[in-house]
Amino acid sequence: MLEQHLAALPILLPLIAAPIVLLVGRSSLAWMVATLVSGFATIAAWQLLITCLASGSLSYAVGGWMAPWGIELRIDAANAFVLLAVTAISTLVLIYSKDSVAKEIESDKHLLFYTAHMLCLAGLSGILVTGDAFNLFVFLEISSLATYTLVSLASDRRCLTAAFRYLVMGTIGATFILIGVGMLYMKTGTLNMLDLSVRINLYESSRTINTGLAFVMVGVGIKLALFPLHMWLPPAYTHAPSAVTAFLASTATKVAVYVMIRFIFTIFGADHVFNDMGMDLILMVLAVVAIFKCSYMATVQNNVKTVLAFSSVAQIGYMVLGIALVSAAGLMAGLIHIFNHALMKGALFMAVGAVFYRVGSVNLQDFRGLGKHMPWTMAGFTLAGLSIIGVPLTVGFISKWYLVSAALDQGNWLVAVLVLLGSLLAVVYIGRILEAAYFQKLPEGTDPEQVKEVPYLMLVPMWILVIANLYFGIDTSLTTDAASAAAQWLFENSQTSVPQVMEMKP
């Protein structure tokens, strides 16, 4: 029975767990339920990835209604790959959050925290597995609402304004997506993604469809913090509780990148988006500007969480750059970076959360001397930081390697050089933190007894991610296999659907 419903499990488990978590009443029990459910979802995602790598794609008709009439869950290598990253990170963050949350969030809100986390996970998985454009909007809103809640749980009052800004921009983004999907629906009469992709090609250059595309792109652009629309991200990540930042930074924007890939490649067709509308140039310019502007912004910030938040926007630039290269290799680089960046940022934000746990704030000067007093935390931070920079033997290197080689394949040496230059800025902003941690002394007046290593429940998940950073930097077979299969699948299906329906043009 479980195999039959495998496709539905990663979303049903957290969806049903969310109300149960609220009902169990005790926060330790809630934590246990949430972690277990998230772990099961991870196993399901893993099974799905294996199945998809072996046999292409999977479809599940919810309610037993066939696709264009009912809602279909459709899983292929691409979303199974991202799904695995999201569920795995969620599980690790949940383990981590037991102590972190106990410290940062008032005790009567723990249940709400775990419920919101489950809702967020359910929303993100739903976005990933659904094969229906409107259903995607619904799950996008579930995850967004849960995210606003999670961000506003911090005790610092600035989280409120950050959450509000996020809410307004996020809702505008979602509404834009709604407008875009409406225009597509109006022209094609269907909401199912595969059906849409077939029928959109009947109207090769319809203004309505192009406008719909533009609105979806802007809407998704807001959600994934594409450069000029990223204004909500740094404050939200800075002021959210540590566990929340670790989860969101490594999953939420990645899922949005996936949505962009899905819309470009599966629904509209890469050929139409890039060749007819010239979207690749726009995306490429925005991505490059994002890499430089935001990496620069990261170097001048004082709050370490803000540094990493700007770094996230820059890293999203790399992913979008991969998409904008319009080749299977570029897309693969983008997908690998989605996975790898989740590993790096998860580890980094967990380390920062550990510092917050002991020191109580995460400004640059608070990191002074921590190399000595919190050795494991800072060692983890250092390794993950090296990964962001792109040092060999880490996953960051793998991402950049594939990105650069994809760019060079096309003879686009300019992009290749820019990617490498962007890494130099990463050296600066990570370097500043490491310098404070290892080459400066603990500030006067701090009790060294207070600043010690964090509990194991926080260290272990952090180090699992750090080790994953190294492992997947050396043995790349899993990530590259999955990403290249996904990229191949997306790219081929995107190209072939164009000619076969051309004759049906009315």
């Binding site: 029975m1 419903h5 539905a8 049903l12 969806l15 049903i16 969310a18 109300p19 149960i20 609220l22 009902l23 599940y60 008709a61 919810v62 309610g63 037993g64 209604w65 264009p68 009439w69 009912g70 809602i71 009567d108 809100k109 709400l112 925290f113 419920t115 919101a116 809702l119 359910a122 739903g126 229906d132 409107f134 259903n135 619904v138 799950f139 579930i142 609402l145 849960a146 809640t149 506003s152 749980l153 407008i179 225009m183 629906y185 109006m186 022209k187 094609t188 009469g189 269907t190 029928r199 109207y203 319809s206 203004r207 309505t208 469809i209 192009n210 406008t211 719909g212 533009a214 609105f215």
Partner: protein, 326 residues
């Protein structure tokens, strides 16, 4: 005739929307927003979307307005002059609007029966759903059965809203209140009238809940109306009285139970060998199965929506009361 009504309503909407831009009195903004919702619901009726009109009237004009008013009670009712230039927003809006107008040029003409959306997918709903699902109201059939997963998502969204609001605003029960029990105390007529109509409103909510298969209505609308009845009670007799009738703790148990009731139908159908939410498997006769499934999930939706709307109102209202005391 329909076109004429449509035009008149649209111009009233435009007037209202434009007026809202320039009003600095937030109370007036909220009032006009209520009118805007009412008007758009009228447009929905005129465009045959009776279920949508039902919901928009209850939610947009009802719940949203009440929530906005209780927010205003805490934040004050004047918008201050902004020194920003309004040129940049105007530019953004003009560009977006121009893009949309550009997009409309190729749209299928308004109301044409040959439009793609009337040719693909929807014909099955219109022709088959009375047979396959067995309900006269196609909207309910599509909502609860064909796109039941969306509706589960919708219920979860409502649930997520409750989680969000409770996180931000906690409902404090004033057990030992020496606070003046508020409510529209001096309005004796209101008290009598409210006592008369509240039972009828709850009766009406039940009617909407179970008549949704045959006419406009369903779990969502019923939940909102039932919540509205209690909200009316709280407004007239004061929040402490309402808290005594239905306690927030109870609502916090009720809301997740509704979601679980919905999901359990799906799980059950999985055990009966179907896919998630496949109501055909619930009984020997598929149409009966559909019927059972829809009744139960509508009940789940109704319970959740009632509990959530009411606890959101409690959370907002108790903030206002707290300020009143201090």
């Amino acid at each position: 005739m329909a076109v004429l009504i449509d035009l008149v309503l649209l111009s009233m909407l435009a007037l209202t929307a434009l007026r809202i831009i320039f009003l600095k009195d937030l109370f007036a903004v909220v009032m006009l927003f209520g009118i805007y919702s009412f008007l758009s619901a009228l447009i929905f009726i005129n465009l045959d979307a009776v279920d949508v009109a039902f919901t928009e009237a209850a939610v947009g004009a009802g719940i949203s307005t009440v929530l906005m008013l209780s927010t205003l009670a805490l934040t004050g009712r004047k918008e201050k002059e902004s020194k920003h230039s309004s040129i940049l927003p105007f530019l953004v809006v003009t560009v977006t609007g121009a893009a949309l107008i550009y997009g409309t040029i190729d749209m299928p003409p308004f109301g044409d029966a040959n439009n793609p959306i009337h040719q693909h997918v929807a014909p099955r709903y219109i022709e088959q759903s009375p047979v396959e699902v067995g309900l006269p109201n196609m909207v309910t059939s599509v909502l609860a059965s064909y796109r039941g997963f969306d509706t589960l998502g919708e219920t979860v969204v409502v649930f997520a809203a409750m989680i969000g609001v409770l996180t931000l605003l906690s409902v404090r029960r004033k057990e030992d209140d020496e606070a003046p029990d508020s409510g529209l105390k001096s309005h004796r007529v209101l008290h009598v009238v409210a006592k008369i109509i509240i039972p009828f409103v709850i009766l009406f909510a039940l009617y909407v809940q179970f008549h949704g298969d045959y006419g406009p209505g369903g779990g969502f609308q019923a939940g909102v109306i039932a919540a509205a009845a209690i909200i009316l009670y709280a407004l007239v007799f004061g929040l402490p009285m309402a808290l005594r009738v239905i306690s927030p703790k109870f609502l916090q148990i009720l809301a997740p139970l509704g979601v679980l009731l919905y999901a359990s139908v799906g799980i059950y159908s999985m055990f009966m060998g179907g896919n998630f939410l496949d109501y055909n498997k619930l009984a020997h006769d598929p149409v009966h199965g559909q019927h059972y499934g829809i009744i139960i999930i509508e009940l789940g939706v109704g319970i959740t929506v009632f509990a959530v709307m009411l606890s959101i109102f409690y959370a907002f209202a108790s903030q206002a009361e707290r300020r009143n005391v201090s």
